[in-house]
Amino acid sequence: MASHEITAHNGHHRSLPRVWELPPQQIVSDGLQRIRAAGSTYRLLLIITAILGVVGVVALIAGPVLSGWGERQPWTYVAVTFGFLMSTVGAAPCVSVATRLVRGHWRRPVNRLAELWAAAMIVPLILFFLLVALLPNTEGRPSLWFGWWGAPWLWDSLMMIALVICGYAFLYTAARPDMAIVRDQVDGNLNGRFARLARGFRGSTQEWRTVDRAVAYFGALYVLLYVGTMTLISADFILALIPGNNSAIFPATYTVQAFESGVALTLVTAGVMRVWGGARDYLHKEQFFALGKLQLALGLLWFYFHWTEFIIWWYGRTPRETALLRLLYFDTYFVPFAVAFALMFLAPLTVLLWNRIRAGVVGPIVVGALVLVGQVFEQIRLYSASFSPNNIYEGELTVIPPAYVPGVLDILILVGLIGGAVCLGLLALRFVPYPSIWEVTGGLWLRAKKPFHKTEVVVIGKPD
């Protein structure tokens, strides 16, 4: 049984997640289980995603790499994959940071799932280095750099490297106490591996204080770097490559829709872990309800940001704006836009608006999956549009380029490299315990059942 009924103070019967009833030993044993032995489903998934990753690399070499860096268009789907991964695996750790900031207790079993994706950031980093060579000099064209030395290559690269390092640091700092727990509970090779990873963590007051601060600082820094990096990527890889596109809101739109996908990825990961990962006790309606609310809010923001861009161009009606509307919204890339609109806005709105669905497990997971598909189409729309114009030095689009239709290699690159990133995320599970033992047990201490008038309620400790 995953939960039992409890009466809330307002008289409603709600189910109390079993995670808050578990003894700490059970949480430790669950965390160790996935480290000690990989299940058959896990192995199968790992093999499939590894094969996909290899296929992706082969397609990448056979296609764009062999065609060289002279033209941008063959690289379109590499950019799509890069954009998708940045918007999903890159955004997921931000979900963890945000929930830590608001100090929600429901987050404790979810945080680790979101942070784990930082491990996959090496894939977009490699793709970035392949793509950044395609960017032309900023001389003679509008850009964010105004003649800065080394721009855009050097500064974009530095931001990307800093982001990835910070992501790994955040993941490692948040996982270090758990690595120490694993070290103390296992023997042999595993003990040696985790002793090295835990780096002598013993759980002294000073060490805990350092962990708290380091997690907070690395988390905050990660979000700042992420927003900065997404701003640069959206400006240099999309806006600057479409003549006449100087939409100031676009970096914000690109970042907000990435946050939406970060929540979606966390939801889907939580769903997979609940169904196949044996984490049913940890991922309960409480977590899906809270993440579902976030998903709904960010879906609405997706619409708001797109609408504000659209309405300004619509009212402006200058030739420059009309061309952009035709390229990005109406004619050339209408289909990807419509799909993204349906999956990233309509789906969260129409499904998650209903409390009953949002309070369930299936609804938020399905919407999360739909948002991820929508994000693929959104990236296709943006990068196909930005990698197609031939002359990026003209003031506005005089000739609207035809839609870029992907070939087999493009699809293989997209699916394969996403598979490769998932493979890295899965591999990280062998090094970082799930659930986060120290956070979930910490949550246990701060929850208690107390009598309240004629009933019994759950009380939550708020230490600060």
């Binding site: 809330a8 103070h9 307002n10 409603h12 709600r14 900031l101 608001v102 509008p142 850009s143 964010l144 105004f146 700042l224 927003v227 701003t231 100087n246 939409s247 100031a248 809101i249 676009f250 970096p251 914000a252 708001y304 940001f305 504000t308 861009e309 309405i311 300004i312 161009w313 009212y315 402006g316 200058t318 201490w445 701060l446 208690a448 107390k450 309240f452 309620v457 759950v458 009380v459 939550i460 400790g461 708020k462 230490p463 600060d464």
Partner: protein
């Protein structure tokens, strides 16, 4: 660490009704000072109506000046109510309880004040009736319904109506309480306003559900209002105004200034009404953390706006950016925006110790609103000065004494109305505070006793 005290219901009611039942010397001073400024405000309005808009510093190129800046500013302040009340209510943030009423009421009064300014700005307000009743029926001249200038009053009126409803619904239990604690004309007034509220289970249920529903509806209105205000500018092809980022940029700026204004109000209420036990350090701490996020997001949008204005490399854009960066007094205003709006307050708010220092929070919140007023001026006024190549006058805009009086008077107006409201309705919701007290608990973690709350599903 929380500093929650456990008081009896009677003590809470007595403390929180004090501003309604007693009038302190400071209250009288407030009424007199604000009333005097308000008189000057009314005189300035009358003066302008009599002599015409020529008594202001507005000229043919820059015909949107102090009054429109002030309109945008007060609309911004009005966003505090929904930000604090609706979002925190929906997310069940416990620290919202003592600040919701003040924030909602400030929304209401600042919206009313904001609405005054475009009307005053017409110079001949009675002629605004032509918007609804065109003077030229036979020529079919109607206002362009697609114009943001038509959407704007509709959005603001909807927001105002919603806010009044929201304030009223959330005040009904307190009206009932006041009815039971008053005599004479007050008793009659509160009896009508309480709508027969007796505290029955069904009545509480309806009150809470209505509050939640209104909060959810208000959220969409809240975003739309300042977006539409930004579109008053951005729908035009005016260089630097015609920007896609203005809607969310205005909204986040509004939240920044509005939430800061709530901090100002919290500190004033604590000092004026002796609410030390209810508006506590932990509330300033929580709102300070929120402000760090809001301010940083605002700064990001601010930078996006500047960078993309420069990105265009268009002659007209560059001319206005030149005014903004290099022509007096705009560089000074920009410095105010940066220093007061971000670089002084945010590093201070980053530290827990400072977030719990009420004087520091008060002064930094004032600073933010000085910065945010300057920001609106920096955004709006230069936009018109170099709009046309052939303009009637190249003279820069200089506000006259009338406009300055109007701006100062608007602050007095909002302050006066807030003081007056506090004489009729408790500025901290009594029922909300009582509920919070009942939901408060403690748990034992090791050797420590930790404050806790009953989980609200």
């Amino acid at each position: 660490m929380q500093e929650r005290h456990s008081f009896s219901d009677e003590r809470i009611i007595r403390d929180l009704l004090r501003p309604v039942t007693q009038t302190s010397m400071m209250n009288w001073v407030g009424f007199i000072v604000l009333g005097t400024i308000l008189t000057a405000f009314l005189f300035a309005v009358a003066w302008m109506f009599y002599w015409g808009i020529g008594v202001t510093g507005l000229n043919r190129a820059a015909f949107w000046g102090f009054m429109i800046v002030n309109f945008v500013f007060w609309i911004g302040i009005s966003h505090a109510g929904v930000m604090i009340s609706a979002i925190l209510r929906l997310t069940q943030a416990e620290w919202r309880r003592p600040v919701t009423r003040a924030a909602e009421v400030m929304t209401m009064f600042s919206l009313m004040t904001a609405l005054l300014f475009p009307v005053i700005h017409t110079g001949r307000p009675w002629r605004t009736l032509y918007w609804a009743f065109p003077y030229d029926f036979w020529r079919g001249i109607w206002p362009d319904v697609r114009s943001a200038l038509v959407m704007d009053p509709s959005a603001i009126m909807t927001y105002l109506t919603g806010t009044i409803l929201f304030v009223y619904i959330t005040t009904i239990p307190d009206f009932a309480l006041l009815r039971d604690h008053s005599t004479g004309w007050r008793h009659s007034l509160y009896r009508v306003l309480a709508l027969g509220f007796k505290g029955e289970e069904r009545q509480w249920k309806m009150q809470i559900i209505t509050g939640f529903l209104l909060a959810a509806i208000m959220l969409s209105i809240f975003v739309s209002v300042h977006s539409i205000v930004s579109w008053d500018f951005a729908f035009s092809l005016d260089p630097v105004w015609h920007s896609t980022v203005w809607a969310p940029y205005f909204v986040i700026g509004a939240v920044h200034s509005g939430v800061s204004a709530v901090v100002t109000l919290m500190a004033l209420m604590r000092w004026l009404f002796k609410f030390d036990n209810y508006i506590r350090h932990e509330h300033f701490d929580a709102i300070g953390r929120l402000l760090v996020v809001v301010a940083t997001t605002w700064m990001w949008f601010f930078l996006l706006d500047i960078f993309f204005d420069l990105w265009r490399q268009d002659i007209a854009d560059d001319a206005i950016m030149h005014i903004r960066f290099f022509e007096w007094p705009y560089p000074l205003l920009l410095a105010f925006v940066w220093i007061f709006g971000y670089f002084i307050p945010v590093p201070i708010w980053a530290f827990r110790r400072f977030r719990r220092n009420i004087k520091l929070m008060f002064w930094t919140s004032i600073m933010v609103n000085i910065g945010m007023w300057a920001e609106r001026y920096w955004l709006v006024v230069p936009g018109l000065q170099a709009k046309y190549q052939w303009t009637f006058s190249w003279l820069p805009y200089r506000p006259g004494p009338v406009e300055i009086t109007l701006v100062v008077g608007s602050f007095a107006l909002v302050g006066f109305l807030l003081l007056l409201f506090a004489k009729l309705v408790p500025p901290v919701p009594v029922w909300d505070e009582l509920e919070g007290q009942h939901l408060a608990a403690e748990i034992q973690v090791g050797k420590r006793t930790v404050p806790a709350i009953v989980r609200e599903f």
